[in-house]
Amino acid sequence: MEDYKFLFKVVLVGNAGVGKTCLVRRFTQGLFPPGQGATIGVDFMIKTVEVENEKIKLQIWDTAGQERFRSITQSYYRSAHALILVYDISSQPTFDCLPDWLREIEEYASNKVLRILVGNKIDREDREIPTHVGEDFAQRHGMYFLETSAKEAENVERLFMEIAAELMEQARCKELPRYEQNTTSINGKTTAIGDSNSCGCSRFT
């Protein structure tokens, strides 16, 4: 038996080429891959992290951005605990597509899912989307916001660690009343998450 207390599914979405795969590789393998091809369908990585002495297993699903993979990637939204929506701060079109992605998320994901907007490639000189524009968008749509660089390892660790911490806190908030009510424990060993907002615990400040 693997040794972890929580298991969370994190799904990355966003246009092709914004750097989803690089973000995942940077976090799971600590490298910036040179010239790997575009992702086909979905890719799958696991990393176990530790937050407040609790082992948390993150199951990270990296999806392909192109339209023709949509049926595959959509099928992963429902069971996701966190959805990371990524755009490229040096590419207006990737930002302009965000509403389309939100519509998808609305349609397929659980309404309790943790949503994070990520503006990637901040190492680039040719920025097209100012930080406050991304921030505004995130705020309007009830998402957390972070800018990253997979290339320079900026905020990547932080992104995933805070997701892990936030999800764990939500899971705990959910867990306590359940035990008090003395109903049958719903999910054996690992803990899934549900209503988070009631709890009011939030990171990403």
């Binding site: 599914k9 091809g37 086909i40 369908g41 979905v42 890719d43 799958f44 696991i46 199951q59 339209e67 023709r68 993979f69 949509r70 049926s71 595959i72 099928s75 992963y76 429902r78 069971s79 349609e107 109903t183 049958t184 719903i186 999910n187 054996g188 899934a192």
Partner: protein, 744 residues
């Protein structure tokens, strides 16, 4: 003057020292004895050494002689080997010289031979001469010509002539090959194909030949596609005609490789298949594109996907009939599976060829990577991703709509414990996931599993829950009547859901549905794992991880269903159990528990409290026994037991007892416990422990007797001392002061 005291002290010291010295002496004596004992032994050793001493000198002299001899031999050997080396060098020079002479001689021969061969259009002969010439080291030849003065001009001119001839021949063969292709002269194509490598034109040869094969592929494939388009709808392959056409294309390529790989290897050597596959793949891509285009058009894929999306967003007016998609879904998976098979075949062949062509691991890896890149960026891959996407969209719709239909047409058969939707739903889910397995795509399988989990967790569970939410209608009617009502309503072609009996039956069936679904999900998950492992025997760790993680989604489905079952049982408790058993148990209050023996004898023929209660409970359970499946029935008994024991405890505390009343209660509780134990395979005895202990206390002779129970087995003792005192107070024949004084 030392005092007497001091002198006695000195004396003491002296005696001590003497003792010590005496002890030391004993030890020294012992050691001396030991040394003397070894004297003999040492003597003998010395003797034997003295004997061998002369031999040592002899050995030394001999060794020195031997060393000189070895040294000598060594020098000799080096001299000999130097000579041998010289000889070798001389011989190799002679050989080289000979081969150069041969080359020069052959050069002349080749030069003349090529001219004649070209004149006679004997290209094989000509190419053989050029081939011989190409094997020579031309720079060396020119140097040789320089060394052997006089002959210089003839060698140089021969070289020039041959170079010229080779170029001529190359051009001619090139041209002749093209002519042969144009004239569809297969024999000539093969003839010139074999000549290319002799002229050092490996790449040209392979490229030209494979392009020729690609043209043949194109012709056949277009013919096949045309035939497909002309197929009558009534044809028995009509529904999978595009899958058939695609299959023919892949089989065509496989056959080309099967047939030509040996010839290519014979004349060009191993390691040429990568180039060959690259060229054929390009044509394959062209043809796949055409076939998929026609497929999309004639099967109206885009329109169907659009209709589905509109339906999903509740905008559509027109609705696709899921059953009509069934065959199309099969065709889609078939096409994808064929492509996977073809991909595997090509990879295996090319990789084998790479393996034997080079031993350099790095080079191998880079060649293999080249192949993967070709395939990954191929139109074939793209088209298949496109098809898989369409398949998944349609499959999702098919599964969802079919499940909704199964739920909509739900019916309850009198001899079934579950309603029809459960078997139907799981039949559909199984069918869809199995179909996805047949596509040969791991991502496809994962997606369909995810969709199935979503539908089971949402559509199915919520349907089950919403029925259970309506509750179990109170009031009593026997179930036979309910079935009759159900029957007649079916006969009249309408279902009167308002009928209480029917609602009750449906409630129980849905409770069973939920429980059965848990079982079905577990079985399904287990079987799918086996099916997938069989269908994909060479899965990589990552792919295994994907499948495992998606199948784990099934576990979440069972968790959700479990909460539905618990919810249903809770409903039963509050509407069917509690209101009914309370008056039965409460009748305990109307009984006199302080009767004397005479009174009891008088009432012996009456039914006891427990007999009546058991009869009532039995009647109640009878209603559920046939309609609930075993695990639900057992759970129900569990609930019933809890409710009865809690209520009974409550009324006991409201009653008063004497010794006889307490003893009767003790017997009755035992009887009740036996009744419950015999009606279920689950253990319910535990729930009676408190009651039994209460009865035990109520039936003691004297107040002090209770100390015995409280003291003995404290682990299983469930009553606090306050409770024990409270219970004793129910005995009207005990004095309060005695109870208060009790130390427990």
């Amino acid at each position: 003057m030392p005092t007497i005291n001091e002198s006695s002290l000195i004396e003491d010291n002296l005696t001590n020292d003497l003792h010590k010295l005496q002890e030391d002496e004993v030890i020294v004596n012992q050691q001396l004895d030991q040394i003397l004992m070894r004297h003999c032994h040492v003597e003998a050793k010395l003797q034997s050494i003295r004997k061998v001493l002369p031999n040592v000198a002899v050995v030394k002299a001999e060794t020195e002689k031997f060393r000189d001899m070895i040294h000598h031999t060594n020098i000799l050997a080096e001299k000999v080997s130097a000579k041998v080396r010289q000889l070798d060098l001389a011989r190799s020079r002679v050989c080289e010289c000979q081969s150069r002479v041969n080359d020069i001689l052959d050069l002349q021969l080749c030069c003349e031979g090529v001219a004649t061969a070209l004149e006679n259009e004997d290209y094989e002969q000509g190419a053989a001469h050029v081939h011989r010439f190409l094997l020579m080291d031309q720079q060396l030849l020119e140097k040789t010509a320089d060394d052997v003065s006089g002959d210089h001009s003839s060698v140089t001119s021969s070289l020039a002539t041959l170079q010229q001839a080779a170029n001529n021949l190359r051009q001619v063969v090139d041209q002749k090959f093209d002519e042969a292709v144009k004239g569809e002269d297969l024999a000539s194509v093969e003839r010139f194909f074999k000549i290319f490598p002799l002229l050092g034109m490996y790449n040209e040869g392979i490229t030209k030949f494979c392009s020729y094969l690609a043209i043949k592929l194109q012709v056949t494939s277009q013919k096949n596609l045309k035939a497909a388009l002309d197929t009558r709808i009534t044809d028995k392959r009509a529904s999978v005609i595009y899958a058939d056409t695609l299959t023919l294309l892949f089989e065509g390529i496989a056959r080309i490789i099967e047939v030509h790989q040996p010839i290519i290897e014979t004349y060009y050597g191993p390691g040429r298949l990568l180039t060959c596959a690259g060229i054929l793949q390009k044509e394959c891509d062209n043809q796949v594109k055409k076939i998929v285009f026609e497929f999309m058009k004639h099967r109206a894929i885009s329109r169907k996907v659009q209709l589905i999306n509109e339906h999903l967003r509740k905008q559509g007016v027109e609705k696709l009939e899921p059953k009509d998609l069934d065959i199309l879904l099969s065709e889609l998976t078939l096409m994808h599976a064929r492509a996977e098979l073809y991909n595997k075949f090509l990879r295996r062949r090319v990789f084998n060829d790479i393996e034997i062509s080079t031993t350099d691991e790095q080079h191998r890896a880079s060649l293999k990577n080249d192949f993967e890149t070709i395939m990954k960026n191929s139109e074939l891959a793209r088209s298949m991703q496109e098809l898989l996407g369409a398949y998944l969209a349609l499959e999702r719709y098919f599964m969802e709509e079919s499940i909704n239909k199964a739920i909509g047409m739900d019916a309850l058969d009198q001899d079934q414990q579950t309603s029809s939707m459960i078997d139907d739903t799981f039949f559909i889910v199984k069918k869809c996931v199995k179909r996805s397995i047949s596509s040969g795509s791991i991502d496809g399988v994962c997606a369909v599993i995810n969709m199935a989990c979503g539908l089971l967790e949402n559509e199915l569970s919520s349907q089950l829950k919403s029925r259970l939410r309506q509750g179990y209608p109170a009031g009593y009617l026997d179930l036979a009547q309910a079935y009759n009502a159900l029957q007649t309503s079916f006969q009249h072609g309408r279902i009167q859901t308002s009928d209480t009996e029917l609602a009750r039956l449906m409630f129980l069936a849905y409770l069973n549905n939920a429980e059965t679904s848990i079982e079905y999900v577990e079985t399904l998950s287990r079987n799918l794992k086996i099916d997938i492992e069989q269908a994909f025997p060479n899965m990589q760790t990552k792919e295994k991880g994907k499948i495992e993680s998606c199948l784990a989604g099934m576990k979440n489905v069972t968790f959700t269903l479990r909460t539905v079952v618990d919810y249903g049982l809770e409903q039963l408790r509050s509407s069917a159990i509690k209101p009914r058993i309370n008056p039965w148990v409460d009748s305990f209050l109307t009984i006199n528990h302080e009767a004397d023996e005479e009174e009891i004898l008088r009432h012996e023929t009456d039914e006891s409290f427990v007999q009546t209660l058991v009869m009532n409970l039995d009647g109640l359970l009878q209603v559920f026994k046939n309609s609930l499946m075993e695990s639900n029935y057992n759970a129900l008994i569990g609930i019933l037991t809890t409710e009865v024991t809690i209520r009974l405890e409550k009324v006991i505390f409201k009653s008063s007892f004497n010794k006889i009343g307490g003893t009767i209660l003790d017997n009755e509780i035992r009887a009740l416990s036996n009744y419950f134990t015999s009606s279920t395979s689950w253990t319910v005895r535990d729930k009676f422990i408190r009651l039994q202990q209460i009865a035990t206390i109520l039936s003691v002779d004297k107040v002090e007797d209770v100390t015995e129970f409280c003291a003995t087995d404290s682990i299983s003792w469930r009553l606090s001392s306050a409770e024990v005192k409270k219970i004793l107070l129910l005995r009207t024949d005990f004095r309060q002061e005695d109870i208060k004084r009790l130390k427990i």
